[in-house]
């Protein structure tokens, strides 16, 4: 009997989208529950650590976006073929998260002068570093997938990490052909492609 998945997060991409990508990529049914305001406040006490996202698996709750993404990857056969490939996937998830953390800084900085500084660092230092790093990683693995020879959570994690940067700068991947092609490939997956095409745009 397949377990029943209920995924709880805000109505945004943020730290929830990667988990949604994994479920759609494998065409797995789940309840995509989006909460805000009072509904979120009412749900909060029942979460493991007072935060979202939360994955409810037949009534058992799992918190922390990375933990959920890794769990789903294992359950949905997106975690590589062996222990080493699982570690390789983890590596890319952590790197994507490092980049995401820098992005979050730029998004939440209120001081205008500091924000300008953070944005400049993001565009001049952070993004170029990660673009080069991910492009060369793809190249080293044959150009198609980040790990092994099939889709893994690593591919989805890197895809997800560039969602917001590409909104701000649509030509960001123009000098990175492998990354660009990998992105197009993910967008071509049946259920996932549909979801991405019809999804309501959000800032983050």
């Amino acid at each position: 009997m397949m377990p029943c998945y209920k995924f709880y997060y805000f109505d945004a991409r943020g730290r929830g989208e990667l988990c949604r990508y994994a479920l759609h990529a494998k065409q797995r049914d789940f309840e995509d529950i989006r909460l805000g305001g009072d509904k979120w406040q009412n749900f909060k006490p029942s979460t493991p650590f007072g935060q979202m996202p939360v994955l409810d698996v037949d009534g058992k709750k799992l918190a922390q976006s990375g933990a959920i993404a890794r769990y789903l990857a294992r359950e949905l056969d997106l975690a590589g073929k062996n222990c080493w490939e699982q570690a390789a996937c983890d590596q890319y998830m952590e790197l994507a998260d490092d980049m995401f953390t820098e992005l979050v800084k730029s998004f939440f900085e209120k001081d205008e002068a500091k924000k300008a500084e953070v944005m400049k660092n993001l565009n001049d230092v952070v993004l170029p570093k990660f673009l080069a790093l991910f492009e060369s990683s793809l190249n080293r693995n044959g150009g198609c997938y980040f790990v092994g020879d099939g889709l893994t959570i690593a591919d989805l994690a890197v895809y997800s990490a560039f969602d917001t940067p590409l909104k701000r700068c649509p030509t960001l991947l123009d000098s990175f052909p492998k990354l660009k092609a990998q992105r197009a490939k993910i967008e071509g997956l049946p259920k996932l492609g549909e979801y991405i095409k019809n999804r309501k745009p959000t800032d983050i």
Binding site: F49, A63, A67, R70, Y71, C83, Q86, A87, D90, E94
Partner: protein, 218 residues
Amino acid sequence: CTDFSNHSPLLKIATMPSYKLYYFDVRGRGELIRYVFLAAGKEFDDIRFTSEVWKEHKPKAPYGQAPFLEIDGKPLAQSNTIARYLAREFGLAGKDSWEQAKIDELLDLSEDMFKEVGKPIFEKDEEKKKELLKNLTDVVYPKFVQLFEKSLTANGGKFFVGNELTLGDLAVYCAFDTPLKSSPNLMDDCPNLKAQRSMVEGLPKLAAYLKTRKDSHI
């Protein structure tokens, strides 16, 4: 992962991988990895260097950062990735996928706290630094000790996940190393967390290491 337990001892020794951990001579993002080796009783080369010597090792690092681990020469980067990989190899990753996920939860929560702990250390502005330190002691530490105490208690009070030592226990232990230096009474209202800490400190190889470890501020 491959199970060699049915092979002869000689073959076992011949097939045990060689591990070399490369990191600075501080706790930082390397200590949890060291804890995993020690708790599991596994041999490893604990290579520690200064910033100057780091320049020599940097080209070997997959993404130009430390820590990184060489397993029979194959490099692996990112501290939590390494910790997770070793935990799976050494039987500290829980009994099944769900327990592995519960351990990941704790690792990620510990990481959230670790990021807060790092903020005042790297803040240059003195006023902002004072503010961040105050926030740590008044808001961050109380919030996280309560979360961890609740989680530990919900699992019976002894181990964080399942009914034996896992990476989850080591990750939480490690996360409080620096906070307890500046706030030694941090866990006074958290009896289970306090007891769990003593339990981890009592593990044979870990106890010997902790006793002789050189002090570092992070």
